[in-house]
Amino acid sequence: MRLLKDLLARRLMLFLTAVPGLLVFLMLLGLVQKSRAILALKSFSQLLFSSSWHPLRGEFGLFPFLMGTLWVTVAAMIIAVPISLLTAVYLSEYAPRFVREFAKPMVDLLAGIPSVVYGVWGVLMVVPFVGKTLAPLFGAYSSGYCVLSGGVVLAIMIFPTIIHVSLEVFSTVPNELREASLSLGATQWETVKHVVLRKGLQGITAAVVLGLSRAFGETIAVLMVVGNVPKLPQSIFDPAYPLPALIANNYGEMMSIPLYDSALMLAALVLLVVVLFFNLAARFILVRAERKAE
């Protein structure tokens, strides 16, 4: 009887475990199906690399959006990674106990703030700061609605992700290793550099990859501060138009302009494929690194 239960449960769980794999498949299928209409008319490379976005004339060049996504994500990572890692190291290795215990829940609190609130705050504080204070400092004009603002808001959103995972990674580095290093005469910083970071490199990379995924997928907060101009950004003070924002802004026109819904579904498909490839690459690198470590 117990064995029967076990067998039944096993079957059921097997079935359910197939769901995520199936889901990815279904999403790919559904989006491909919906993108067919526009792919029949224009070649894939035409759509990806053309910079001309004029849906009413039947022009659906996605290149500015791809670049927009790239610029904003990269900007966010450049800001977030050093700050997050430095903070994680400080909290893990240097900070007095009470600071650490106070800061950890604070960081988690950042993670809990909903994206709409980030967007709103971005418009309130980041956009004017970038437009009125930062850009003139560099001699550039910016309305404030630009790549940099998007990058800043996104970076703050992914701080908790990278910090949290890094902290966990650092906590798995055995104290003996640290002590050994110090007893050999290394300064604390050198210990961190050569022991903690080296040991935790794999985990840190995973943390960064996680942060990158989160940054890539964020829609609403970025949309509100990034300027939404379908042109290739030439500098971080220029507006940009990331792919998720394109879909969110124009959902309403889907039914109205011929091929528009197909183009937007293609955009969603591109996003999905990028995430897929990225994860493949990340996994490949990680597996390689694991093998090396053995």
């Binding site: 117990r2 064995l3 239960k5 076990d6 096993r10 059921l12 097997l14 359910l16 475990t17 197939a18 769901v19 995520p20 794999g21 889901l23 990815v24 999403m27 559904g30 989006l31 050093p82 700050i83 997050s84 430095l86 903070t87 400080y90 240097y94 900070a95 800061a103 604070m106 609190l109 950042l110 993670a111 809990g112 703030i113 909903p114 994206s115 709409v116 609130v117 980030y118 709103v120 705050w121 309130l124 703050i156 300064t187 604390q188 910083w189 890539f216 997928g217 964020e218 829609t219 609403i220 998720p244 937007l264 579904m265 996003l271 999905l272 995430v275 990225f278 994860n279 493949l280 996994r283």
Partner: protein, 286 residues
């Protein structure tokens, strides 16, 4: 000696950067919460959380956001439950039944990673396609399904991380006593990782309740509290969005107050999870 000095200076420099970074991180938190609180003060009244919007609420007249509070709780609660019913069996299967290096397990974990990175707007668009396919109107049910899909990879991955840590020796001990895999799974593995599992559920809940892009096409919006799954449901993120989109400064202030309410709810969830983790950690075998 010179070498030591240089090393010490290097240490000082980095220490400075580290403290600065920490200040930046904590400072941003302060700025965000501070801005929300300050902007919401004029609108923080008890009626905000105890009343639904009366006619013309979005034009400045009375009412509150009870519709969105309840709607969000229903929706995120339902979605988290649905997601949990899927996540737990998946995680159990992957860690108790499947072989460590089976292709199936690897493919599933990979799919979960991919799903984790999919932007929430794509879930919203996908949910919309499903709704059109089944002829569903914008409703609580459609929203629950979409958000459950969004939460699935988050919950599953977080749970997997914890359940993975259950030492094989513990499982082996259970088998050697004659327990079936199923019994081992639930009496040993799950009990051992219970705090982590609950944390995973609450993390996913926090994400689901705060996301706007997935519900904007699927859950609809209404001024009433939904009484059935097929009715549209208001959600806090959308309520914030719409209140911000009105030309009336009083209503925009209410948007900030709503944001404060949402953040408070998420904070309560996260605090609650810490407490629960503390309590259930008793059951663990160290």
């Amino acid at each position: 000696m010179m070498n030591l000095r240089r090393r010490k200076i290097e240490e000082r420099i980095f220490r400075f950067f580290m403290v600065t970074s920490t200040v930046i991180v904590l400072g941003s938190l302060l700025l965000i919460i501070g801005a929300v609180v300050v902007k919401s003060l004029p609108a923080l009244k008890l009626s905000m959380i105890t009343q639904t919007p009366k006619g013309g609420y979005y034009l400045g007249k009375e009412g509150g956001i009870l519709n969105a509070i309840v709607g969000s709780l229903y929706l995120a609660g339902g979605a988290t439950l649905l997601s949990f019913l899927l996540s737990l069996p998946i995680v159990v299967f992957l860690n108790v039944y499947a072989k460590k290096s089976s292709a199936f397990a690897t493919w599933t974990r990979f799919s979960l990673d991919v799903l984790w990175g999919v932007p929430s707007i794509v879930y919203g668009a996908f949910g919309f396609i499903i709704m059109m396919f089944f002829g569903l109107r914008a409703s609580l049910l459609a929203g629950i399904i979409t958000v459950a899909l969004l939460e699935l990879p988050i919950m599953t991955r977080a749970m997997d991380e914890v359940v993975r840590l259950v030492p094989g020796s513990l499982k082996d001990a259970s088998y050697s006593l004659g327990a079936t895999k199923l019994e081992t799974a639930f009496h040993v593995v799950v009990r051992q990782s219970l705090p982590g599992i609950m944390t995973a559920v609450l993390i996913a809940l926090g994400r689901g309740i705060g996301d706007a892009a997935s519900v904007i096409f699927t859950a609809g919006f209404t001024d009433n509290i939904p009484t059935s799954l097929l009715q549209p449901a208001a959600t806090l993120p959308l309520a914030i969005f719409y209140q911000l989109g009105t030309p009336f400064p009083e209503v925009q202030q209410r948007a900030y107050a709503s944001a404060a309410v949402l953040t408070l709810i998420i904070l309560a969830i996260s605090l609650g999870s810490r407490l629960l983790v503390g309590r259930f950690a008793k059951h663990r075998i160290k």
